[in-house]
């Protein structure tokens, strides 16, 4: 049999089991065509309950004002902005997987990109809530948009990092959504063409935009994906860079650090991959997709976690070193007293951050640990706790004890409604994710089919025979395969 493409046996297969194209469609679309399990309903209802509590908490904030949160002088940014940066960071892994790994031609991305991109979109929606509701008078949120108005016209300040953020995040959301949806079109058409029920024919017919699979359309689709990937790659780096500018361009000790952009981007990818792991370890089990999201995929992502975790570690230490080396008293106070000093009011948070982000991921140097699902899931939660504390350390410990001791607010702790808002975004995120996993193919069906004959287990075995053949014979056969 002539092989379409040769790939070495050294690389493990990305699709396990004896699969053909039809079997792939069956396996991935099965959850959409069958009724949701009790487990799905339980999870979904918990998520909706959390969402409702979040809506209640935010409603209180809108009615009574930002005073519902325990923000004060000097902690004007507390849990809300911490949560904002945390969610935005989580989103970054999706774009990294879908865009950067596409440019680097990493075949393993096909198993996880769809779910990771969905995660990105939901995480960005959650992140966006925090700055919006933090405005207090949220009905004036449209003031951030530059348009000729009757107030002067007073334009928004284009030199302000906060406005850059508005542009960065809205662009990031739009582009991620377009990229994700463009990829979904062929798969939605697959669901549509298999549909037996009337509503399914209608819904997937509507959402698949009349996709037929024409060769010309595929050619344009590939061109579109490649260019969108090329655009998303600098975009994703710019988004967290600009988020870090919110802090780095200020003159607050602990914030105005030139290392912030790369440090934030590495941290974002780190926490994002942890969230992908948390979601996929569960999803692959519940939807029985272990043959598509294999232990190999989990292993590779854990390698990225240990790499980015270590980059973040180097950034922490560099920051610390520079605060000593720079010999600026205020900078030194922010680091040595507000953070490193374990007995300062919030000193403990610095050690949670260090422990969770720098030390704990080091266990992923061991292959056995990387391939252990329980360890992976546990670690992914630990990493996200650590990354939440990283943002908390950066934001709160830099400002709660500033230049004037009389305005120190050493007792900042969140109010129930601040916590409720955060829990509410979890509700929003998981409500979206549960609906996505029920109504959309969680794995890119067409992309898996595309790599099947190269990376599928049954096809790789045939390549094992090919490796035994004399080179000339093999080359001859390959030359005629196209």
């Amino acid at each position: 049999m002539a092989l379409l493409m040769y790939e070495s046996q050294v690389r493990p297969p990305l699709v396990d089991g004896d699969k053909d194209y039809h079997q792939i469609t069956e396996d991935i679309i099965r959850p959409i065509e069958s009724d949701p399990s009790k487990l799905w309903w339980t999870g979904f209802l918990i998520a909706v309950a959390l969402l409702c509590f979040g809506i209640y908490s935010v409603t209180r904030e809108v009615i009574y004002g930002v005073g519902q949160w325990n923000l004060n002088k000097t902690v004007g940014w507390g849990w809300d902005i911490t949560n904002f940066v945390w969610w935005i960071g989580i989103g970054h892994a999706g774009t990294l997987i879908s865009a950067i790994l596409l440019l680097f031609r990493q075949g393993w991305r096909t198993g996880v990109n769809r779910a990771a991109e969905a995660m990105t979109i939901f995480a960005v929606i959650c992140a966006g809530q925090f700055p919006i509701w933090h405005m207090g008078r949220v009905w004036m949120a449209f003031f951030v948009m530059p348009y000729p108005n009757t107030r002067g016209p007073i334009w928004s300040n284009f030199n302000s990092p906060l406005l850059w953020d508005v542009f960065a995040i809205s662009t990031y959301f739009t582009v991620s959504l377009l990229f994700w949806y463009a990829g979904l079109l062929p798969d939605l058409a697959t669901v549509r063409d298999r549909a037996k029920l009337k509503w399914r024919k209608f819904f997937y017919g509507l959402t698949s935009f009349g996709w037929t699979g024409s060769t010309k359309h595929w050619q344009r689709h590939e061109a579109l994906s490649l260019v969108l990937a090329g655009l998303s790659t600098p975009l994703v780096l710019s988004v967290h860079t600009i988020v870090s500018f919110d802090f780095a361009t200020s003159v607050v000790p602990g914030w105005h650090t030139t290392i912030f952009p790369p440090y934030f981007v590495a941290g974002a990818i780190f926490s994002g991959f942890a969230m992908v792991q948390s979601l996929l370890v569960i999803t692959r089990k519940v939807l029985k997709l272990e043959e598509y999201i294999t232990v190999e995929h989990i292993d590779v992502m854990n390698k990225i976690i240990v790499l980015t975790g270590s980059i973040v570690g180097v950034a922490y230490l560099t920051e610390l070193f520079i605060s000593w080396y720079g010999q600026n008293k205020f900078e030194s106070w922010a680091f040595m007293q507000n953070r490193v000093n374990l007995f300062s009011p919030l000193g403990w948070s610095y050690y949670i951050m260090m422990g969770c982000n720098v030390l704990s991921p080091q266990i992923f140097w061991f292959r056995k640990m990387r391939r252990n699902l329980t360890v992976t899931f546990f670690m992914s939660v630990i990493v996200n706790i650590g990354m939440w504390f990283e943002r908390f350390v950066i934001i709160v410990t830099s400002i709660y004890r500033d230049y004037i001791p009389s305005s120190w607010s050493t007792y900042y702790s969140p109010s129930p409604w601040e916590i409720g808002f955060y829990l509410g975004t979890f509700g929003l995120f998981f409500t979206c994710f549960f609906l996505f996993s029920k109504f959309f193919p969680v794995i890119a069906v067409a992309e898996i089919k595309h790599i099947l004959k190269r990376s599928g287990e049954n096809y790789k075995e045939q390549m094992g025979h090919a490796e035994q053949e004399p080179v000339e014979e093999f080359a001859h056969e390959m030359a005629h395969a196209h």
Binding site: L4, Y21, N157, F158, N159, F167, T174, F209, G210, F245
Partner: protein, 197 residues
Amino acid sequence: MSIKKFVVGCFTEEQALFSAVKKVRSTGYKIHDVYTPMPIHGLDKAMGLRDTSLHTAGFIYGITGTTTALSGIGWIFTSDWPLNFGGKPHFALPAWIPITFELTVLFASVGMVLTFCYLCQMAPFVKKHHFHLRSTDDLFVMVLECTPTSDEAEMSTFLNGLGAKEINVQEAETGWWLGRYDRNTQPFEKKTASTLA
């Protein structure tokens, strides 16, 4: 937009497609299209389709975004309402780079996706003829267009010889029409002499 007659051949292996396309073209039959469940690299070249210019469109949208941002902010901050930020220059190019970059990316991506949908004639409620429902699952469907002189039986035997598993003759609308996939809507009434009159 017209109703034509087609001979449809379904292949189960994509390798067979390349040689089939070559033979069909050298014999002189007209390939209407090949429908595949996933992208097949090189098939567009084999079919003689030209490269897409979507990239070029994307580039043009991108520089439109760049100019929009730079000229917009430039006009606002130097002429329409020059705000004084601590005596710093009104024309502060470095500070405008982030927004300029974001708008470049935004214009390029939105423009490209809209162009893609326009070129492929894709939108909600757009319906097209399906030659085979499994062409989005596991079949590679080659569709040959009939001319007034062509012999369908001969074309079917020819496709069979190339390795097509399932062969049939269909009359189909080539364009798109508005419709829902849960309803069997006929695109247009057949324009016979009586209806035209």
